[in-house]
């Protein structure tokens, strides 16, 4: 794989710009992916935060959902934050009627599990596998999902470490897929994106 991979950000809706900026400082070239042609031109894909029901609906309307599944099945590395985690989950709790996902991560994810916006929060998170892992990452959780259950092929890389939700799984990865409940793209800390770029280089 190229030393400076081209990583697309799925630009249906949501925090697209922030991921592009984060990729800029993480050793990759970021680009928008709105169409099949654009998807075919990237080495890997980030699915940003936003509303998962909106992304699913529009991905199907514009015939992107099957190509996304095929790309993922053929080994394209993908990283999803928040709604992106829901999009990469095999099973969703609290989905709207008929809601689908790209899937690929053997996890069950619950939408809005921490509650509504008044329960959205920041907290320090320890993430396995990133540079300086002992140095806490600023976890920003916005109407965030959590992982109810993760299959054996899935490595848990982050959990909430204190408070009422202590122990909840908020970061997972497999060989080519990674997902976080929180939004690393809303911080100036590039370590999660660096980890994904490394996964892309090794794929």
């Amino acid at each position: 794989m190229l030393s400076v991979p081209t990583i697309g950000v799925l630009a249906i809706q949501g925090g697209v710009r922030e991921h592009l900026l984060a990729l800029d400082i993480s050793g990759a070239r970021g680009t928008l992916v709105k169409t099949l042609g654009e998807l075919n031109g990237v080495d890997a894909l980030i699915i940003p935060g936003g509303e998962s029901s909106t992304m699913d609906k529009l991905a199907r309307t514009f015939e992107l959902m099957e190509p996304l599944r095929e790309a993922r099945a053929s080994g394209m590395p993908m990283f999803g934050s928040c709604a992106g985690m829901i999009m990469l989950a095999d099973r969703i709790v609290g989905a709207i009627e008929g809601q689908e996902s790209v899937g690929g991560l053997d996890i069950t994810v619950e939408r809005n599990a921490f509650g509504g916006q008044t329960q959205s929060f920041e907290t320090g998170i320890v993430i396995d596998g990133i540079r300086d892992p002992e140095h806490e990452f600023e976890g920003i959780f916005i109407r965030a999902p959590w992982v109810v259950a993760a299959g054996e092929s899935t490595e848990v890389i982050a959990k909430i470490s204190s408070g009422p939700h202590e122990g909840r799984i908020v970061g997972v990865r497999s060989d080519t897929l990674m997902a976080t409940s929180f939004h690393p793209e809303l911080t100036a800390d590039p370590r999660v994106h660096e980890l994904f770029v490394e996964m892309v280089r090794n794929s």
């Binding site: 630009a11 249906i12 809706q13 949501g14 925090g15 697209v16 710009r17 922030e18 709105k34 935060g49 936003g50 509303e51 029901s53 909106t54 609906k57 529009l58 309307t61 514009f62 928040c82 709604a83 609290g94 989905a95 709207i96 009627e97 939408r111 809005n112 509650g115 509504g116 916006q117 008044t118 329960q119 959205s120 929060f121 920041e122 907290t123 320090g124 998170i125 806490e136 600023e138 920003i140 959780f141 916005i142 109407r143 470490s161 204190s162 408070g163 009422p164 939700h165 939004h183 809303l186």
Partner: protein
Amino acid sequence: MSSEISTGTSRVKRGMAEMLKGGVIMDVVNVEQAKIAEDAGAVAVMALERVPADIRAEGGVSRMSDPDMIDAIRGAVSIPVMAKVRIGHFAEAQILESLGVDYIDESEVLSPADYANHIDKWKFTVPFVCGATNLGEALRRLTEGAAMIRSKGEAGTGDVSNAVTHMRKIRSEVLRLSSMAPDELFVAAKELQAPYDLVAEVARTGSLPTVLFTAGGIATPADAALMMQLGADGVFVGSGIFKSGNPAERANAVVQATMHYDNPDVVAKVSRGLGEAMVGINVADIPVHHRLEDRGW
């Protein structure tokens, strides 16, 4: 950062608005409309008792919606639910926060409660969106703690012209600031009637520190595409959907046009066969004292 849990921070409030970007927020007055909006791919709904077109037609004092109505909509959809309070009516805002709504719109569409002061929005955990017709007004709202700004187009008219004016005005004022010499920013702050620190931040970054949505008078997919091309981060649609001939189709079309705002082929395709748009009122025909954009200061 520590492993303590902090709610209501600026990053959490502004970040929530960032996640709505590229999306459509729809006014809904009941559960059925909220479901239609969610199914169409709306990123949030605004729960209110009367859409702006009806407020305009019926007149009288317009207030925060009944908590029962807001709760019913919160129970029916999984996307964020916003609700409106009167300008300056912090007690209505306290009620909405206690109900657990996801965002509060301190809105000129309702009758103002305070003709001098807006709500001190820093006191709340729930984030606020406020309207602005120009950069100075936007920065004053941010100073009061707003986490999201929208234009103040003439709600309930189906006439997009004021939203266009506000969007162009805010953008050109941001560009003007970013081309100024540092010693000119002090006077710029005075002229904008906004704090120097915020003015200097806008000049340095070349953008507002929060997202800027468009609102007021958006009635068609083409209106949404126009506003997105003028630099809006996303779209509020009020009366435009549920006062039209075929709300479900139109809701789908506006959502799709907002995603593909820069692709005329898509906007053309979704504009076909939508039936009647809402009946419009030209802003120029509305007596000046009935115009909403002048509410808020």
